[in-house]
Symmetry: C2
Subunit: 401 residues, 2 copies
């Protein structure tokens, strides 16, 4: 998960004197608002927040962020500004329109849909778990409780157990598990577990740099007789010879940076075989348009084509500040090409390296505040002076270069 | 709709003497089969047919083609060959596995899923029509009955009324209709009707070269008070000044050739505004991998990114020989660029120009056979010597250049 916009620090100008019932004034107000919160998607982001609230009011800031696929800090800021301008009010269950707000929205945006058309049965995913997969979900829920704490310095963040099982479900549905050799390029989400629990695959191999995750997968694999092979691997190095071209399908949820994408996809290509063909499932964060375009150009340049793309397919547990989801894309490739290591900036793989951030954690025992920059010390290694080992993130701040 | 493979003319070699229970023999058999029917997707196409039948048996050839998104003639040929090799049998309702076939499939492909996970409520589309849209569908079903015959020389083919209404539904759901100016670059599917019936849009404009369709849309628009503006336009020419940059959203279902795509998307960019941003809905046929990649490179080079892609979203009425569906993609673009006319081969816009085909039609009155090459005379202008005006296509043949 990654924050895809920056918050403006300037305070909003009082618009009390401006008549927002005038169409041009309202348009100007939206532009100013988009500008103030510095959201990459511009006015369309503000409109999508307004539309989301109209269809779902009352709704919490977190849910607005999930629905609109915008960063939570941006949504929070926009909501506050809309409140200051008396367009929104705040009730216990979340944001609602004021009478004045409804008037503006009807007049200027022609909003009429009071609900969306998302299928209530599958939540828009298009697939549904059958009894077999429901049983897998029940088990997977228990196993995911055993996960270690996330290592944010390498952009770990854990997908929900539901996401893991739906991923296995969609791969099975699309014919990408039965009789197939499946490789996970990184698996902090533990998606290999529900995948192997189907008993559909010829082989399931997990590569990751984190011993804690590999050990956990090993233990569960033994207990459930899943036969998952785990390999400790630093993806800055190429796959070893045995694993090159040894797979039909790869799943990866790489760091959400362009260099992270290039690196993880290059290892995926090695697994499928350079010059060969194969299927790749990619989970990646919703990006502002320019970056989205870069992502797709990278994908295409490796000779992968996007056969299917489902926005918001994956949801993640953890930090309150990030309410976001990521998309899932099914790529197919032929005559596959990878990037050479010299074409990848290995110093800019992780979000923390591209946009350095300081996180502040409160000890749940003594309330002492600790700051973590994610480069030297990670939250999972933090022990408070009082001996406390449980923390809650209370704030995060971007570091200006 | 377009045929995306070629049928081999060689007869299949008798494999009676080969033991297909041997894994290598079976693999070789699949490769040979893919080779014989000359399917661009190779062995994975054969596997996907085998998987489809396993999950849905008994199933008709047409339904297999829809499910696998492969051309019907290919599916038909594969089915026949699998029957000759005693892997499939033929019952009244369609193809089923023989006992021997099941044995092979279980042994070599590890097929275990007896059904897929597609959501039964929304059919995998992820959205569901509400009461408003159901009413629109009821009306639209009646209006689509008034459509003229298709002009195959310009790749016309009619989407089902359901597809039209689901298109309007998904555009509304994604926030691309309310208060928006919407342009249709070609509308043989009459998607503008359900779109305008929502009463969500600020403006709906349809451009097409076919007077018959424009008149029909005009008449229905007047009757239903839809306020659709229709413009006769040949897309080989740029849009006129008034329409440049005049729209927020464009919908197009272009001819399924790379030059057709370039041309229709370039006009779409003019409608959204060169250098500007906007949303584009693109319906396009499922292509073999290399061509898919070309399609996506064209899209990206115009600065559109694929935000969502749903395979098989659109289904079409008409010719029995084509059982296929197309995908729907939601693209967003910024700083949009178009192709100049000199970068587009205007002589290769339509399928008939890229892959010339002769179609044979039988007069339903006197059974006389007529051949049509789709360039000089079109089926909708054909009158039999007996005076008959109703025909059925009985065969089609590619013309070798």
């Amino acid at each position: 998960m990654k924050i895809i916009g920056k918050m403006g620090s300037k305070s909003i100008k009082d618009t009390d004197e401006i008549d927002l019932l005038n169409n041009n004034n309202f348009k100007g107000f939206l532009i100013k608002l988009a500008d103030r919160v510095n959201v990459a998607e511009g006015v369309s982001a503000i409109e999508s927040i307004l539309r989301c609230i109209y269809r779902n009011q009352p709704i919490s800031t977190k849910k607005i962020a999930q629905y609109t696929k915008l960063p939570l800090p941006i949504v929070s800021k926009v909501r506050t500004m809309l409140e200051r301008n008396r367009i929104l009010s705040r009730v216990e269950q979340g944001a609602v329109y004021s009478e004045y707000g409804i008037k503006l929205i009807n007049k200027h945006l022609n909003l009429k849909m009071k609900h969306d058309l998302k299928c209530p049965k599958c939540g828009g995913k298009g697939i549904l778990l059958d009894e077999t997969f429901k049983k897998i979900l029940k088990k997977h829920r228990e196993y995911t409780k055993l996960r270690p704490t996330v290592n944010t310095s390498i952009d770990q963040s854990f997908a929900t157990p539901e996401t893991g099982v739906y991923r296995a479900g969609i791969m099975a549905d699309r014919g990408d598990l039965e009789g197939k050799r499946v490789l996970f390029i990184g698996d902090d989400d533990l998606t290999s577990l529900p995948t192997a629990m189907t008993d559909f695959c010829e082989e399931v191999v997990v590569m990751d740099i984190d011993d804690r995750l590999l050990n956990l997968i090993d233990n569960i694999s033994k207990r459930e007789n899943l036969n998952i092979k785990t390999i400790k691997h630093d993806f800055r190095k190429p796959l070893t010879k045995d694993f090159k071209g040894a797979f039909d399908v790869v799943f990866t949820d790489p760091p959400y940076t362009l260099n992270g994408l290039k690196l993880f996809l290059s290892r995926s290509v090695e697994g499928l075989g350079e010059g060969s063909s194969g299927v790749l499932y990619l989970a990646f964060s919703h990006k502002p348009m320019e970056e989205y375009l870069e992502v797709q150009k990278i994908i295409n340049s490796m000779n992968f084509a996007i056969y299917e793309l489902i926005p918001g397919f994956n949801t993640y547990e953890g930090s309150e500040i990030i309410g976001n989801t990521t998309f899932l894309a099914r790529l197919m490739g032929k005559n596959l090409k990878k990037f050479k290591n010299e074409e990848i900036d290995l110093n800019k793989l992780y979000t923390g390296e591209v946009k350095p951030t300081i996180r502040y954690y409160k000890c749940l025992n003594c309330n002492r505040i600790h700051s973590i920059d994610g480069r030297s010390l990670c939250i999972e290694n933090l022990i408070c002076n009082c001996g406390g080992k449980k923390f809650k993130m209370v704030k995060r701040k971007k570091v200006k270069k």
